[in-house]
């Protein structure tokens, strides 16, 4: 399937992406996807055989958006200190553009068959430039000796979780859109500052 072409197949796929992201595998209805696409329900089976296979394709695509898009940022030609704000910015953008993405991937992965878990293993960030850079800086005594993977998890936790918990946070700080935007702006600055500060000052 070729992207960005307005074929029936692509229209269905985009609709499926939207509905599965919002409702999950169990909550999504083939009829709802058909309605969203403005296309007859039979066409879903014609192009994707059944719900299971349609979901599998949606999940793969979503996983790529969620994980693989970060790799270029991790492997850029700059210092680890420059990479950190870049990573934060990247994930904040992904989440803002697609608010259900992270939740969808993480949630479906909980009970998915091994098939899906395997694609996680084959897309590790462990051998990225960032991790290597942090490891080297630790060896040279330039930064605090922490597992680089802990730094990585700290970064993505601090950015992704607030988006996942968005409904709860908004109920607390206020539902106004500008309040949320300020919150996220603060969040990005804080996480970058805090992690860099922690690594350097010891």
């Amino acid at each position: 399937m070729v992207d960005n072409v307005n074929t029936t197949e692509n229209q269905i796929f985009e609709a499926a992406l939207k509905v599965f992201h919002k409702k999950g595998l169990a909550g999504a209805r083939m009829q709802e996807i058909a309605n969203e696409a403005g296309i007859n329900k039979s066409m879903l089976h014609y192009y994707f055989r059944n719900k299971e296979q349609l979901f599998a394709q949606v999940f793969m695509k979503s996983y790529k958006r969620f994980m693989e898009t970060i790799l270029p940022t991790l492997n850029e030609q700059n210092t680890w200190e420059e990479k950190i704000p870049g990573i934060i910015e990247h994930y904040a953008n992904v989440m803002q553009t697609n608010p259900h993405l992270a939740m969808f991937v993480i949630n479906e992965l909980r009970q998915s068959p091994q098939e899906f878990i395997n694609i996680v293993k084959t897309n590790s960030f462990l051998d990225s430039v960032l991790i290597t850079q942090l490891r080297e800086a630790i060896q040279k005594g330039q930064i605090r000796p922490v597992h680089p993977i802990q730094i990585w998890i700290t970064l993505i936790s601090g950015i992704i979780f607030p988006f996942i918990a968005q409904p709860m946070i908004k109920a607390t700080i206020g539902t106004d859109e500008s309040v949320w935007d300020n919150f996220i702006a603060d969040r990005k600055r804080l996480m970058a500052d805090m992690v860099i500060n922690y690594l350097k000052v010891f």
Copy 2:
């Protein structure tokens, strides 16, 4: 309904808690809950009328476990600096005891009716002792001037997210249980150190 009594009603409720946590509202089946409880399916309707009302009760109970249990820790008679490791420890324990809890609450809250969102508003941590303490310390110039709410979100993000993303993390660092335990132990130390360090050193 009284807790910890082995009535039919409680057996059903505990089974429902388990199944809903794992499968979510859309994925859970009344028959599966009945099987889990070892009780006839008709009894579910006898005691809880329908799936919707059973779910509502399960959600309320879960939300309390997820949020309200933290309030005592936030209001303890100690300094903010002592509270931070306490909060981290508390949430790590909650997540370890009930690995599906956070995901369930956050996930169902995404599309839940206003009814559920309202209980978030009425259980705010904004007026907790911790937040007050941080605000006062900022006014006195003792710690870095950051929104106390950002500190709070940083703490819970850094602990809850790793448990939510557990399948992905395990696929990366290894599925061995001792590896995971070490990872969490490191995580708890790192988050406490990093946040306290950031607030004090400026």
